[in-house]
Structures are given as structure tokens and as C-alpha cells.
């Protein structure tokens, strides 16, 4: 006997399994319509590859996998694609999702399937591909694509392959029925998985409440090296993490994968599906589903085509709708209620539970938490559910995370044990959703912040680069100037530029009016000079009897007109300027008198102010002063000034603050008035 371990907590709810295993697995047959949701697994939904009106054969692919975490869908029987539309699906939220609707032709005609019975000769990666192409996803509950689970990262050493036949949820017997009737297929499937993964040991874990299944598996496993391990029944032994602890004593690190502790888990149903896919080449198009509860007359297991409406299957089991108030897909601990019984059976539908009110009564209103700790005793993750409940009520998300809310597997053991009927799991689910939303929002905000900051940095960098270039140019120029200066004493070009600049500066510095006047005067003076020179030259030429007399004569004339024009301009300018100046100077202005007048006006204005306005202006002034004083205080603090100074400044701040509040009160009073 292999040593098994136990996990913390757990509960023993009534099993209610015997009702549905009295008869062998029955064939549910072909319903009039099959509804195949494109997403029956965790991951991306499959992409449709058929058209409306197209005839498909049983096992033909109708939707292909999209992405790594995705699996394809296949036609469960031969027939015609009737519609590709949104239908109500089996989901807790009761939302519509894209589905392919097939109307069977009743012939149940298989597409050609090529099996690989001698899988040992085939490459492992190719086998994983086969499993993926067959659409195998975890059939225990979550529906995680099996191929993804099997694609263990290279270099990960897998010690233990675990086939999970625990089926710890009450009522459900789908895996039990498989163990009893198809033990050989399970063992074959386990051998395929063992070949793909190459573990040191292969275990099939079963709770000891299934003696027939255990016996059948043991008989089939004889000589294969696969060990069937049974252990005491306790909910939730079938949780992946709990089963790993039971069989190996190891705990999967929080937030980690089983492969991190050298374990890969597969469900019994998935193992059979993998056997079918590899050995017979048949895709996953049907599964075993338990139909049970006191609202059905003949609880039993069915081999049912995926896509079969629940109503069809329930009627096969003698459904009594008048006795049934809620329809649960899955078990009473972790299953969810479906909105309507026309939703289809999917890959994860291990059970349909139709309880009567007496069987699973409507929960009474919750009472106060008395912190009895029964939830903590039941929790398989060693959490403190009552503390989590407290924090969840107060929306203390940090505390919730500190108390490891995300290690909660939502098994429902705490709610089951709670004497006050508090829906604990519901609180945790809601809090998890809120925290995840917050994290998403936070990530978004963080991304925006980083984007903004890096943009700022980019801009600053560009500016700095420009500045550096400018500085470099300036330095280079200075160096050039220096080197030129040492060679010849003065660079003529530089000197000229400097002169020009100096002149310009002088002109600018003198003011516009001044320079305009000067310019005009200069023009007059230079014109006078030129006229004088020209006149002298003309007289000289006349005296010498030169040929140029006529030309000089015109030159003198021209110069004279220019002089006249310049003189005219100057006079005009002077006249206008003087007038303006005279106008400006007209009222005799006394600066001191003006200041006094201004102050008096202000005083009068203040006096004329209403108390409200006065208070407001006082407040503004005080606030200005306070601000200044505070700045001073901060500065002297930063400078490390004497304590005396700081104290004095501080008291000033206090005084000003008091005054401000007094003024504010006055203001308030004024406003009220």
C-alpha cells in the first residue's frame, strides 16, 4: 500500500452517489437538434469553418482552434449546418454565445478516422497535436485544453502523472461509471499519457467510496506499472491541488502550476477521450453525463452527444419539472445553476442535478457571523474564511490579498459548514472580481503614466541635445576667435562684426526718436558736405576750363536738391516731434502729488467698498502674506537657520492663519448678511 497524505480541512457532505450508478451507462441517442458552442473550454473560442446548409459527417471538424490555448469542435453526428448564431449556453451568467446548430440526418455517418494504435512509434509532439485536433479539453470542470497541460516546458522534470478519478462532488458518478465499465480504456489512455510525459510513476487516485471502480481499475492495471491509489473520502479531495497533496505530500506553490512540483494531472474522462483520439482517431464528440436528483425518476449516467439540449437528456431520465426549482450543472458544491434547460451539454457537463426543494432547500437569510471558526476548520486551503468575510464586507482589498484570498479554490466547504448560512464563497467571488478589475484599471493607469513620463523624458532629452549643440558651437567659435587673436592680434572679420554689433547696439540703446533725429541731421550734414565739395570742384573746373563743367554742374544741382529734401525732412520731423513733446508736456505733473492723489483715491475706494468686498480683499492680502511667510519659513528651515528665527516665523504663520480664519468668518458673516 502506498502512503497517502491528507490535506487541511475538508467536509463530509451526504454523498448521494448510489442513485445514479444502479444501471450501466445508457446511450442518450440523437436529439432533433445539436447546439455546439464555439467556446466550451478555457481559452480562445474556435473559429467556424463550415457554412450554413453544408452537410457534415460525424466527427468532421466544424470549428478550428485559434491560438495555443484553444481546441477545435467537431460534428457530433452527421447532418446539416442549420444555423451559426448566438444561443443561450450553460454559463453562470446566462449569456448568449456563438453556436453552430446542426440538424442531424439520423444516419450517424462517421467521417473516415485514422487511428494510431502503435503510438509508441510516433513522436510525442505529434501525439499532443492529435489530442489537440481531437478537441480534448479537461472534462472535470474547468475545461482546460488537455494538449496545453501535456505540453510541459522543456527541462521540467515530471515525477508523477496523476489520473484524477476522485470525483469528490456529491451526486456525480460519471467517472465512477467510466471506471466500472471502461477501465481498460482508462488504463490505455493513462499509458499514452505516460508515454508522452515520461514520469517516474503513474498513479490513479480514487476516493474509497468507489470500491467497484477501484477493483475494475486494479484488474485492468495489472502488470502495467500503473498504480491505483485509494484514500479516505473527503470533499474536496478531487481538487487538483488537494489530490496532489494527498498522493505526493507536496503542495503546488501559490499561483504556480502542478508541473513546478513535478506533477501533471489529467481527469478520467479526459483520459478516455485521449485514448479514443489517439488509438481510434476519433474526436471528442460525446461524453458521460450523470443525470440525477430527486426531480428525475430514473437517475443514471448517459453517453450523450455534445450539443444535446439538456431538456432532451432530462426527459430521457424522467424529468419532473414541477418538482424542480433549480437546475444545476455540475455538483451541489461547485456546480452552477443554468438559466434554462434548453442550453446544450458541453465538454465540461459532468452532471445535471435536478434537486427538489426538500433535497436542496433554498438557503435561509444569513445570520451574523459568530466567528465560530467552522469555516476555517473546513477550508482545504488553510485560509481564515471568517476574516476574509469580514474584509470582503468592508471592501478591504489589501487585507483580503494579505489573507490570500486568491488561494481560495471556491470549493464551498466554508459556506457548507457555516452555521449562520453566510454565502461566503459568493463574497469571495465578488471580491476577486473587484480586485481583478482594480488591477486592470491600475495597470492601465500605470501604462499611461509610463507613456507620459517617457514622452516627457524624450522631449527633455531632445531639448538638452539642442542646448549641448548650441553650447558646442559657441565654444568652437570662441576657440576660433582666441586662436585668431593670438596669431594676428585681431581678426578683421570678427572685429568688423563686433563693430557692426556695437553700432547697432548703440543705435538701439539710444532710443528710436533720438536715432531718427540724428539720422536726419546726419543726412543734412553729409549732403551739405557733398554740395560744398561739388561746388568747389565745379569752380575749380570752371577756372581750369575743364570738359567736365557741365557734368559737375548737374552733379551740384542734384546734390543741392538732395540737401533741400534732407533739410525739409529734418524740419518736418522736428516740427512734428516738438508738437508731440509740447502736447505731452502740456499739463504740469507733480509725481508726489500724483502719488498722494492715488493713495487717497484708493482709500476712498476702500471706504466705498461693501464689508463683503473689504473682507475679500483683506483675505487675499492676508493669504499673500501667509504664503510669503511660509516660503520664508521653508527657506530658513532648508537653510538650517537659527531656531529663534524659525520659531518667530512659525508664530507669524500661526498668527496669520488665525487672522485669516477670523477674516473668513467676517466674510462668511458678510455673505450671510
Amino acid at each position: 500500500m502506498r502512503k497517502t497524505f491528507t490535506f487541511h480541512g475538508g467536509i463530509h457532505p451526504p454523498e448521494n452517489k448510489h442513485q445514479s450508478v444502479r444501471t450501466p451507462i445508457a446511450d442518450a441517442g440523437i436529439p432533433p437538434e445539436l447546439i455546439i458552442p464555439l467556446s466550451q473550454h478555457i481559452g480562445a473560442p474556435a473559429g467556424v469553418v463550415v457554412e450554413i446548409g453544408q452537410h457534415v459527417l460525424k466527427g468532421q471538424m466544424i470549428a478550428e482552434a485559434q491560438g495555443f490555448v484553444s481546441v477545435p469542435k467537431h460534428a457530433p453526428t452527421s447532418g446539416t449546418i442549420h444555423a451559426i448564431e448566438d444561443r443561450l449556453i450553460a454559463h453562470p451568467s446566462g449569456h448568449l454565445a456563438p453556436c453552430i446548430v446542426i440538424v442531424p440526418d439520423g444516419k450517424d455517418e462517421w467521417i473516415e478516422c485514422k487511428g494510431t494504435p502503435h503510438y509508441e512509434t510516433v513522436d510525442k509532439v505529434k501525439l499532443i497535436g492529435l489530442i489537440r485536433d481531437a478537441g480534448v479539453a479537461g472534462m472535470g470542470g474547468a475545461g482546460f485544453p488537455s494538449s496545453v497541460k501535456l505540453s510541459v516546458k522543456a527541462g521540467t522534470h515530471i515525477e508523477t502523472l496523476i489520473i484524477n478519478g476522485t470525483e469528490c462532488e456529491p451526486y456525480i458518478t460519471a467517472d465512477d461509471a467510466l471506471m466500472r465499465e471502461r477501465a481498460e480504456q482508462i488504463i490505455e489512455g493513462a499509458k499514452i499519457l505516460r508515454y508522452i510525459i515520461g514520469p517516474q510513476e503513474t498513479l490513479i487516485g480514487v476516493e474509497d467510496n468507489k470500491p467497484e471502480g477501484i477493483a475494475a481499475l486494479r484488474a485492468a492495471a495489472q502488470g502495467t506499472g500503473i498504480e491505483v491509489v485509494d484514500f479516505p473520502t473527503k470533499y474536496p479531495s478531487g481538487g487538483e491541488k488537494q489530490l496532489i497533496e494527498i498522493l505526493t505530500g507536496k503542495q503546488v506553490p501559490s499561483g504556480g502550476l502542478p508541473s513546478q512540483v513535478g506533477v501533471v494531472c489529467q481527469n478520467i474522462g479526459s483520459t478516455v477521450a485521449i485514448y479514443e483520439a489517439v488509438v481510434h482517431g476519433r474526436p471528442l464528440i460525446s461524453r458521460v453525463t450523470t443525470v440525477t436528483g430527486n426531480a428525475v425518476r430514473e437517475p443514471q449516467n448517459f453517453q450523450v452527444l455534445l450539443g444535446t439540449p439538456m431538456r432532451y437528456l432530462l426527459e430521457k431520465a424522467g424529468y419532473q419539472p414541477e418538482k424542480n426549482r433549480r437546475m444545476i450543472m455540475g455538483g451541489p458544491m461547485m456546480g452552477f445553476t443554468v438559466p434554462d434547460i434548453d442550453v446544450p451539454i458541453v465538454k465540461t457537463t459532468n452532471c445535471l442535478l435536478a434537486p427538489t426543494e426538500a433535497e436542496l432547500p433554498t438557503p435561509p437569510p444569513a445570520q451574523a457571523c459568530i466567528r465560530c471558526g467552522m469555516c476555517a476548520e473546513a477550508c482545504p486551503a488553510s485560509l481564515l474564511p471568517q476574516q476574509l468575510f469580514w474584509f470582503a464586507q468592508g471592501k478591504e482589498f489589501e487585507k483580503l490579498e494579505e489573507h490570500n484570498l486568491f488561494d481560495c479554490i471556491e470549493c464551498g466547504a466554508c459556506s457548507y459548514a457555516c452555521p449562520s448560512n453566510i454565502p461566503l464563497v459568493q463574497y469571495y467571488r465578488a471580491s476577486k472580481a473587484e480586485i481583478l478589475q482594480q488591477r486592470r484599471d491600475h495597470e492601465k493607469a500605470e501604462a499611461s503614466r509610463i507613456r507620459f513620463e517617457s514622452r516627457q523624458q524624450r522631449l527633455e532629452q531632445a531639448e538638452a541635445e539642442k542646448e549641448a549643440k548650441r553650447a558646442a558651437r559657441k565654444k568652437a567659435a570662441e576657440q576660433r576667435a582666441q586662436s585668431a587673436g593670438t596669431d594676428t592680434g585681431e581678426d578683421p572679420i570678427q572685429a568688423a562684426i563686433a563693430r557692426a554689433q556695437a553700432k547697432k547696439a548703440a543705435q538701439q540703446g539710444a532710443g528710436d526718436e533720438q536715432s531718427e533725429l540724428e539720422k536726419l541731421e546726419k543726412t543734412v550734414v553729409s549732403a551739405q558736405k557733398r554740395l560744398d565739395t561739388a561746388t568747389t570742384k565745379l569752380e575749380q573746373a570752371k577756372a581750369e576750363g575743364s570738359d567736365f563743367v557741365e557734368a559737375l554742374q548737374t552733379g551740384v544741382e542734384k546734390t543741392r536738391t538732395k540737401l533741400a529734401a534732407a533739410e525739409q525732412a529734418l524740419t518736418a520731423y522736428q516740427q512734428s516731434h516738438n508738437q508731440a513733446a509740447a502736447e505731452q508736456d502740456a499739463p504740469p505733473v507733480d509725481a508726489a502729488k500724483a502719488a498722494i492723489e492715488k493713495a487717497m483715491a484708493k482709500r476712498q475706494a476702500e471706504a466705498a467698498m461693501s464689508p463683503l468686498e473689504k473682507a475679500q480683499s483683506d483675505l487675499a492680502k492676508l493669504q499673500q502674506r501667509l504664503q510669503k511667510t511660509e516660503e520664508k519659513l521653508a527657506q530658513s528651515k532648508a537653510n538650517g537657520d537659527e531656531e529663534k528665527v524659525i520659531v518667530a516665523l512659525e508664530s507669524t504663520v500661526v498668527r496669520l492663519s488665525e487672522k485669516i480664519s477670523a477674516t473668513q468668518q467676517t466674510l462668511q458673516a458678510a455673505e450671510d448678511a
Binding site: F7, P13, P14, P92, G94, P170, K241, Q251, V252, P253, S254, G255, R325, R326, M327, I328, G330, P332, M333, M334, F336, T337, D340, I341, L353, P355, L360, P361, T362, P363, Q367, A368, C369, I370, R371, C372, G373, M374, A376, E377, P380, A381, S382, L383, L384, Q387, E402, E410, C411, G412, A413, S415, Y416, A417, C418, P419, S420, N421, P423, V425
Partner: protein
Amino acid sequence: MALMRLTSPHAHGPMSTQRVMQYVLLATVPGIIVLTHFFGFGTLVNILWGCVVAIACESFALKLRGRPLGFYLKDCSALVTAFLLCIALPPYSPWWLIAVGIASSILLAKQLYGGLGYNPFNPAMAGYVILLISFPVQMTTWAPPLGAGGEVPGLWQALQACFTPGQYDAVTMATPLDVLKQNNSLLIEDLWQQNPQFGTFAGLGWEWANVAFLAGGAWLLYQRIFTWHAPVAMLASLSLLAAIFYDGGSSASGGSPLFHLFSGATMFGAFFIVTDPVTSAVSLRGRLIYGALIGVLVYLIRVRGNYPDAVAFAVLIMNFAAPFIDYYTQPRTYGHSDKRGEK
């Protein structure tokens, strides 16, 4: 008819808060029978009157708070408080003493904090301490047990003592813990022989009352109403200290472990007061610490303090510490290597 939409889990266990309270009430019955046998009908009358006052106070508070009466009264928590306080009170207490105690318990210690589940202090013990501090004379007089000389009063006398306190002169006698406390010259053995209060292995009457409460507590434990941690830790630390300071039964002895285990309110406290879930630590390790420290305090106050018994003070002091203990005793979550939320 539309199908109901509910979230998992759909199944619920058989336990309910009402049932937890009823089990606790039931578990006190053997102790009450033994107390009645040795001390007469005083305790029973206490309880009957206490229950009436408790229901009245609870209803009054619920009405003020605008809560549905039926829903909250049926959780039986007020009755549990009444039972526990009235068992702790001396038999033949006057009606007003009981009324003040119950009102303090229900109104001050429980409803003012928000009712069941929100009270930081054990309501029964809070009420007890308020009485002990306010009315020390009435609170420290205890009837003599059967076999210590004198008659045990009957039901009529008990009723008289309760409702017409002036007309009934109750006979009183020091409790064994008192006697031990006042001892300053005698060896334990001599003390034992000279005082009629002592019985086979502890106080006369008291020893069997403690045995009865132990039996009731064991039954609750068997019914998984609480875990063994806090009571066992309390009894263990109390015995350990008593063993260390027994001093061979000298005149300075604090009393034997057996004497301490079966005297006063030890068993009653361990199984009915310390186990109050609302006011104790919640994690299992936390409960061990919580219980053990109560045991230490009980011993210290009994032997060194001013009061002969100490369960109420010890429990109230540790009620203060419970959240603190919880903070440091968070259990290691599955898949975590350390306790404090680290991975």
C-alpha cells in the same frame, strides 16, 4: 416557472447558529443539576429570572435598532448569555442584581456593539464584572453546600430570596478558594481538615459541579461545537502553574493542580466562557495562546490577586488581546512557504 439562479455551493451542512446555541444550553444542564443538588434552587431561580430579563432586554434593543424580533431572538444567543451569567452569579441573588447584570450584558456588552457577532467582550463576563465591581458584597457571598452543616433551602425559599430579598436572610459561607486565599498559617492538609468547605479532591460540591461542566464541555467537543484548543490550553497552563507553585502543600502553597482544576469556575470557564467564539482568537494556534494565557491569568489572580476567583477578569483581559493574537497567528495557506501572506 422560471428556474432559480443561485451560486454554489447549493448544499448546506446541518449546523446552524441556533443549533450551536441550543447545544450550549443543553450542555449546561448537568452542571445546573449538580449546583442545584449541592446549593439548592438558587441557581435555577437565577436562570429563570435571568432568561426573562434577557429576552426583554434583547427585544427592547432589537426594537430600538429596528430589527425583526423573531429572526434575531430565535438564534437563542440571549438565552445563552442569561444561562452563563446566572450560573456564575451566587445562588439566592436578589432579583435586581440579576436584572442589572443581564441588562449590562445584553444592552451594554452586546447590543451596543451591534449585536451577536460584533461584541468584542464576552457579554456574560462583562455583566459579571460590572456586578462584581458595583456590588462586591452581594457578589462574594455564596451559599453553603450540602453537607457543610445547615439546611439547603428549598424552591420557595429560593424564590423568596430572589424576589423579596429583604425578608429572606440567606445563610452564606466562604468558598473554598476564599478559604485558601485567607490561609496564612496552615498546611494545606490541615486547612482541608479544619474547614467543612473542602470535599474529596477540591471544594465540597464545587468538585462535582466542575466534573459536570467538564462532562457538558466534552459533549460539546464531541459535537464539534468548538475545538479543543482554547479549553485544553487553559486547563494545561493552569495546572502547570499550580503544579509549579504547589510547594508540597505548605502554608504558602497556592493549592494543588487538582484543586485548581475542580474549584470555582474553572471547568465552567474553560468549556463555556473561553470557548465563546465571538470574543476569542480564531486561528487554532491563536486559540492555544488565548486559552493558555487565560489559564495563567486565572492562576495569578486567584493566588496573588484580590479576588478569590478570576475567570471573568482573565477572559475579559484576553478578549482585548484576541485580535492581536489573530494578527500574529494567521495559518500558513496552502502553497505558501511562510505565514504572513508571502509566497
